[in-house]
Amino acid sequence: MTESTNNRWLHRLAVLTATATLFLICVGGLVTSHGVGMSVPDWPTTYGYNMFAFPFSKWIGGVFYEHSHRLVASVVGLVTAILASWIWVRATAGAARWLGLTGIVATLGLMGVRTQTMFVALAVVAFGVIVFCALRLGKDPRPIRWWAMIAFCAVLIQGVLGGLRVTQLKDELGILHATLAQLFFVLVGALAVTTSRRWSESKLSIYDTGGLRYFYLLATGMILLQLIIGASMRHQHAGLAIPDFPLAYGRLWPATDPASIAHYNQLRVESVALNEITASSVILQMIHRITALLICLAIGGALVRTWRRFGWESGFTKGVVAWGSLILVQAGLGAATIWTNKAADIATAHVALGALSLITGSILVLWAFRCMQPAARQAEPLSAPMQNQGAVA
């Protein structure tokens, strides 16, 4: 991702897109936290209305969250389209420039045909474009115009997945929708980092003697896995599979035989329509707890290694300290989610901080791979500027 040299306004737009995406993830979290994902049974219409003309007087109860989620998503989609177009136009010329731009504009135009068939058709085409971009990136992962085009296609597919989750009544699509949301957030976050001035002026300046780059990558991967586990838990719509913490049903490891599960279900006196818990949902929550512990250990380890290698003054050390602080607050919010019986605001904050932990890790990984080079090359001079590393395609 070194193709685009910095442009202040482009960078700002990318930061805005990432911020809007985080906000969208929060609103999506509110939808599932309140258990109201199905409160608008139709899509792309809302109770038969064109969604942009749905009267405000009907934004009642769960509809408020679900409809807001759809509107905010439309805004994020539009901002992403502008960002992708801008990056594309800057980096291309001639036929390629017009082809890309026409593609984006035509897609936006066709979205005016507000039928499910049209949206699904566009998503299928978008998937094809992602495959094409991925093949180009396989040869050279640096030109950000391909990443930007993937972002545009991904946001479209993401919207269609959200819609199909409603009309096809499939919880599994909800898990996919939540996972893609995180990946999309990482992608636009990466676009924000790589369009910054600091990025284009940075140099290979330090040696990675301890394999720190891969250590960050591993911890970030664990966070992504943890977010997918979390999404699977939320999208079972079963509330808390285990109501106590740090113990689980009063024991270190909960019973998961059918009789115990039936018993746990009968003991629940819930005020909202929750699905019944299952053995797998209980086990999933235990895995979520264990993974949380492993992530804390991994980031603690990353902090010690980074500090030993670079000292307190290094940007990396500061970054990992921030990362670790986020993770600690996130662990606290996880516990609070249980202790408050999954209060909607706490559970949503837990989703938001999960996304922030992931993006912080991803940014650290990006910078680490940008600035650190393998220790084996220590003999080579360090002053080579980054521009020499990436060919402008």
Binding site: S39, P41, G250
Partner: protein, 233 residues
Amino acid sequence: MKTYIPCMIIAALLGSIHFAAAADISGKVRLKGTPKPEIPIQLDAMCGKLQPKPVTTRHYVVGQDRGLANVFVYIKQGAQKAPPAGEATMLDQVGCMYEPYVMGVVAGQKFKIKNSDPLLHNIHATPKVNKEFNFAQPTKGQENERSFDQPEVLVRMKCDVHPWMFAYIGVVDHPYFAVTDKDGNFTIKNVPPGKYTLEAYHQKASVAGGKTQEVQVDGDKKIEFELEVPAAP
């Protein structure tokens, strides 16, 4: 000989009428133990206007003499498939609550769902065996018909606009079912003679939901059930 055959037929018919005289199974379901208190429902402003009295969850509705309401009592085994005995109960949405909380239908039988509120609801069936559905009822007085094809005890119905709204429907492939009233009483009408397994199914009471009893129907029968509040582990 020629007059003998019609006589035999008449005799047989009379006999069969005598033996086929359907009977009622009635009785009471009681609850043993003290359930956790019900949770007060925090209605939103619009629903609050429609529902002047405070409302709570309805997990355990206990009436006179420990009678347990909302128990689905039905013939679990032994009954032949049979058509509905009359029109199905209507599932109504009144003051952002479902009425009734528990009802029964025959598999394949159409039942009405009505919105009596001046605001929108969505009706979302979340069965495990039958086909899930979710549709909108945006206007007051709107009625729609739906059915479930397969026997399933119980199917949960919910509104996602108002997450506290949920109710249950028992689906069986014959009309021999009843839901206990506020004092736990039930009557299953016109059951053909035979030997049956009767189940009393309550969403929360007793491990694994239901309790069964064998019943030989050769005249009206009285059956009593006792369900228990599950003990903490």
